[in-house]
């Protein structure tokens, strides 16, 4: 019997992942043993400390370029940057999730049976506590995302996909108001997400089959093997193409690219708004992180084959997002379609196979995350007795009622529209430049044309807020508590700073823009 050889594990490099998963497990214990009244504070503190510790570990690991744990995890520039981005954005989302003052008792329920205005619901509003399950769920999801962007083989990637998806399905169902919408959103997300996962897994199997066709090499789904197989394989590429397509479907679903986007508006609308912001920011980073790694590392040799297809998807995504955003009357759905269109712009960056392209895409991901979280933070504030007032007609005249928050939201919308001096402009520049260099002028032109279409819905909201007279039903803007304020300030400042002095972050992304193979 031969000796069992254990793979070497670099625990320091894995520390951010381990910290987040450990915090999630601890959170489950807290749920069981800490008294109800203290639970919210303890859970919030635990999650926050874990995230900050993970951020510190990412910074300490900044120079790591290695593959560890038997080739399952690659810690390199993109991994570390994206992990850092996910964690920072997750801190912002956590601040929104943890806020208990905007809506008394928080935006979440403990379990599905609690209906609005029931006795238990009122107890929650009175500050008895409860509904703290969101924290460990969020920690699990973040842990999964951290693995997802670091995964160095397709199977690890699949496991990570499930680890971060399952908590998200649950989180979507936990809205305290508009329960049916929230549960419908969660079910829809779960069903479609399960299909997408199945596609992904099937794709992994086909790729495994493809790699087994090379003489003198063992089959495998780690990226080095796949890369070698793509460049050297003498066999027919049918398996490769089919596998690649199925993998792409799984990933593009998470990235909310058309035609795999149909879940997005419903889920964004139904999910509790802090969670919507979390998905729009962090899930996007994770999904595009994985897309970058799969297409730039594993399938780099087949770029001639996938570029036209992904390009068509990018154009379709931009078009669908922009055109359908025009017709929306609900602010959350509008932001959902805007996020779909942004997925299209990000795909333009993915298709620029240069260091600048990679760096630009990562810059875009971080910048967009800050803006979108700030946008959803404002959405949580505009509310009346019934909860958030998300119908656009309700926002009429908001500029008169609360000029400060209307000005903040206008600024964010201008950023989404790509007006200079905001991060929206610099990030578009960061992806369009490399795309033009890679001779993808058609993608840039499509991007520019759809930006024009997309400017209209943003402008409509601005008009609503500033140029319309406030009506009877115009809600007031709740003055946010410390946590939401902090998230809002971070988001708005980042949008401004990345628009005016993008240099430092660009240096960071450029320095990080190289995969280990």
């Amino acid at each position: 019997m031969s000796e069992l050889r254990l793979p070497s594990i670099d625990y320091a490099a894995l520390a951010p992942i381990l910290i987040m998963l450990g915090a999630a497990l601890l959170g489950v214990l807290v749920e069981a043993f800490v008294p109800r009244r203290l639970r919210n504070a303890v859970q919030l503190g635990l999650a926050l400390v874990a995230m900050l510790a993970a951020i510190v570990m990412v910074i300490l690991n900044a120079d790591d370029r290695l593959i560890t744990i038997g080739g399952a995890i690659a810690i390199d520039g993109p991994t570390l940057f994206l992990q850092g981005a996910i964690l920072v954005l997750a801190v912002m989302a956590l601040l929104l999730v943890g806020d208990r003052t905007v809506e008394r008792g928080g935006a979440f329920v403990a379990h599905a049976a609690v209906t609005a205005e029931s006795a238990e619901d009122r107890r929650q509003a009175e500050g008895v506590g409860g509904a703290t399950e969101v924290y460990p769920l969020m920690s699990f999801a973040i842990g999964g995302m951290l693995i997802f962007v670091a995964a160095n083989d397709l199977l690890t990637m699949f496991v990570a996909l499930e680890v971060f998806s399952l908590p998200l399905y649950l989180l979507c169902a936990l809205a305290r108001r508009r329960r049916l919408l929230s549960q419908e959103a969660a079910l829809k997300y779960f069903m479609l997400g399960a299909y997408a996962s199945a596609f992904f897994l099937f794709g992994v199997a086909l790729i495994y089959g493809f790699t087994s066709g090379i003489p003198g090499r063992t089959a495998g789904v780690d990226f080095a093997t796949v890369h070698a197989a793509v460049t050297e394989s003498p066999s027919s590429p049918v398996l490769l193409f089919a596998g690649m397509a199925l993998l792409a479907i799984g990933l593009l679903f998470k990235a909310a690219a058309a035609p795999f986007h149909v879940w997005t508006p419903d889920v964004y609308q139904g999910a509790p708004t802090p969670i919507t912001g979390f998905m729009a920011a962090c899930t996007k980073v994770a999904a595009f992180g994985a897309l970058l790694r799969v297409f730039h590392v594993a399938f780099a040799g087949a770029s001639w084959d996938f570029t036209p297809v992904l390009g068509a998807i990018a154009v379709l995504t931009m078009l669908v997002g922009a055109v359908l955003a025009v017709t929306q009357t609900d602010i959350k759905r509008l932001l959902a379609y805007s996020s779909i269109a942004n997925a299209g712009y990000l795909l333009v960056g993915v298709l620029a196979p240069s260091r600048e392209g990679l760096s630009g895409t990562m810059f875009y991901l971080a910048a967009y995350g800050f803006s979108v979280l700030a946008a959803f933070a404002v959405v949580t504030l505009v509310r009346d007795a019934d909860g958030e007032a998300t119908h656009l007609s309700r926002w009429a005249g908001l500029g008169r009622r609360s000029p400060f928050f209307a000005a903040i939201f206008t600024f964010i919308l201008l950023a989404f529209a790509g007006i200079p001096l905001t991060s929206g402009f610099t990030s578009k520049f960061a992806v369009f430049g490399p795309a033009l260099e890679a001779n993808q002028a058609w993608l840039v032109i499509a991007g520019v044309l759809t930006s024009m279409v997309l400017a209209f819905p943003y402008l409509r909201v601005v008009v609503m807020m500033w140029l319309s007279e406030p009506g009877e039903s115009t809600p007031t803007v709740t003055v946010p508590g410390a946590l939401t304020s902090a998230a809002l300030v971070i988001g708005v400042l980042a949008t401004l700073v990345l628009g005016v002095v993008p240099g430092p972050l660009l240096d960071l992304t450029t320095g990080a823009a190289e995969f280990v193979r």
């Binding site: 201008l414 529209a417 790509g418 007006i419 200079p420 001096l421 402009f425 610099t426 578009k428 520049f429 369009f432 430049g433 033009l436 260099e437 002028a441 840039v444 032109i445 520019v448 044309l449 930006s451 024009m452 400017a455 209209f456 402008l459 409509r460 008009v463 500033w466 140029l467 319309s468 002095v501 993008p502 240099g503 660009l506 240096d507 450029t510």
Partner: protein
């Protein structure tokens, strides 16, 4: 003195002023007005100093300043001006204080924050100065786009009838142009060696096809901004809805960014493409002259009428630029200045008239000259300046454009000349229907119509009238500054002036 960083100070100063004004309490509107006015005078003084520090016979570009901004993309805060930009900066510096003075009571009518109105005007001044002073394509683009935001709120928040529609239309049209330009800017950056510096880019060589596409991207943006036919439909709406002061800046300065951009970016950077597209641009210019003049004749709304006259004038400027002769080019640049003065004056006077009557419809007036003789006189003068009567400044520029064009392209010059006749028609008819003829009895019941020009309003119109007359008789100080810059631009395009044929020049002079 020429070491003083004029341009960056001029760009930043109004912005600081805007912040100060915006932070003043809402309950002290008069203080806000005074601070804004004082601040704009300060900018004017600084501009005048700069005008005299500029040596007309010296380098083409002067006052260069450069500070790094985004080193990763080679973006710098680079400012420098040639004669063309200098003239436009002077126009801005002169118009803004007058507009602030003319809009003294405009903001109160809208029930919105008064300090905000004046702060927006100063922000607008900052972006307008920046756009003309920038010598970095990226910086130019940033100012070009950001300029929309204050104007959007000026129209949308303080405008008149249909202000929302007009504001959105203005913003979307300009943004569409801007995004085309963005694609071209990025393309320029990629093929031009990853630099945005104008000097470096003007040395670069591009492939013919690439240059044509890039030219088109820039040109569409500038043609919308100018606006040239057929991209003009936003201007009558925006001009009609904007408060008179903002409209004077919109038409007087903002739109010049379009023609300035063509002169500074399209022609020198893409000379071959400019020559290739010139016939099309000339055709657009000529159509604009005739078409907009015909529409102006038919307008019943004073502000829309003035907007249409501007579109016709922009046709002249376009023809002057794309004729590619120094005379026509100088005429076009001079026209940019004179049109700013004359149309600015016309907009402000019309605004005074509308503020008194409470209506912008020509049919609501009639014989107003009997009630407000001085105002009617000023309107008449502004109208004559606008139709380029000899003795007023616009005449010089229009004449230069026409002779400059005639030497190289007779049909275009001849058709454009028809525009002068139509201009006489729309101006004189407008004057006749508003201030001449029998008195509209309804007017006597409007209290405002009993007050003739106040001292404040006289202070607003006097400098403009003086400048229009002065430059009408003695344009040399301005042409001296413009000429070298235009000559250099024409050299960039690779066009030399045709050898003087004595016959044709005399013919044109007739």
């Amino acid at each position: 003195m020429s070491n003083f960083p004029f341009l960056s100070v001029l760009t930043v100063a109004p912005l600081v002023g805007a912040l100060v004004v915006a932070l003043l309490p809402r309950s002290r509107p008069d203080l806000a007005k005074l601070v804004a006015f004082g601040w704009s005078l300060l900018v004017l003084v600084l501009s005048v100093v700069m005008w005299f520090a500029f040596s007309a016979g010296g380098d083409r570009f002067q006052f260069r300043e450069s500070y790094p901004w985004i080193p990763n993309w080679g973006v710098n805060f680079t400012f420098e001006v040639d004669g063309i930009a200098l003239v436009m900066l002077m126009l801005i510096a002169i118009l803004v204080p007058l507009v602030i003075l003319a809009s003294w009571h405009d903001a109160e009518a809208s029930r919105r924050s008064v300090p905000a109105y004046f702060a927006l005007l100063l922000v607008l001044e900052c972006t307008m100065i920046g756009v003309f002073a920038a010598a970095d394509v990226f910086l130019f683009y940033v100012f070009f786009e950001v300029m929309l935001v204050p104007m959007y709120f000026l129209i949308g928040s303080y405008g008149g009838h249909q202000r929302q529609y007009a504001a959105v239309k203005f913003f979307l049209y300009s943004l569409v142009g801007g995004l085309f330009m963005l694609a071209a800017v990025i393309g320029l950056w990629v093929v031009g060696g990853k630099t945005f510096d104008w000097q470096a880019l003007s040395q670069a060589e591009f492939a013919t096809d690439t240059a044509r596409w890039l030219f088109l991207g820039f040109f569409v943006a500038f043609a919308i901004k100018a606006p040239f036919f057929p991209f003009h439909t936003w201007l009558p709406d925006a001009g009609g809805a904007a408060p008179a002061g903002a409209a004077a800046l919109l038409v007087g300065v903002l739109d010049k960014v379009g023609t300035f951009g063509i002169l500074r970016y399209c022609l020198p950077l893409f000379p071959e493409a400019s020559r290739w597209f010139a016939p099309w641009a000339l055709a657009l210019g000529v159509i604009g002259i005739i078409y907009a003049a015909l529409l102006a004749v038919g307008q019943n709304d004073l502000k829309r009428l003035v907007s249409y006259t501007s579109i016709a004038h922009f046709g002249f400027i376009g023809v002057g630029i794309f004729a590619f002769t120094t005379q026509a080019g100088t005429g076009a640049v001079l026209y940019m200045l004179n049109h700013g003065l004359a149309t600015g004056l016309l907009f402000l006077v019309v605004g005074m008239l509308i503020a008194r009557r409470g209506s912008a419809l020509i049919s609501d007036f009639g014989g107003a000259g009997k009630l407000v003789p001085v105002l009617a006189g000023v309107l008449f003068f502004a109208g004559l300046a606008s139709l380029a009567l000899p003795g007023t400044a616009p005449f010089v520029s229009e004449f230069l454009v026409l002779i400059g064009t005639f030497t190289v392209n007779k049909p275009v010059a001849v058709i454009a000349t028809l525009g002068i006749i139509l201009a006489a028609a729309y101006v004189l008819w407008m004057v006749q229907r508003t201030t001449q003829g029998t008195l509209n009895p309804a007017l006597t019941e409007v209290e405002g119509m009993r007050r003739d020009l106040t001292l404040r309003e006289k202070v607003v119109v006097a400098p403009l009238i003086a400048l229009i007359v002065l430059l009408g008789f003695y344009p040399k100080p301005v042409t001296d500054v413009i000429n070298p810059a235009v000559q250099a631009t024409m050299q960039d395009v690779g066009k030399s002036d045709p050898a003087p044929e004595v016959g044709s020049v005399q013919e044109a002079a007739k």
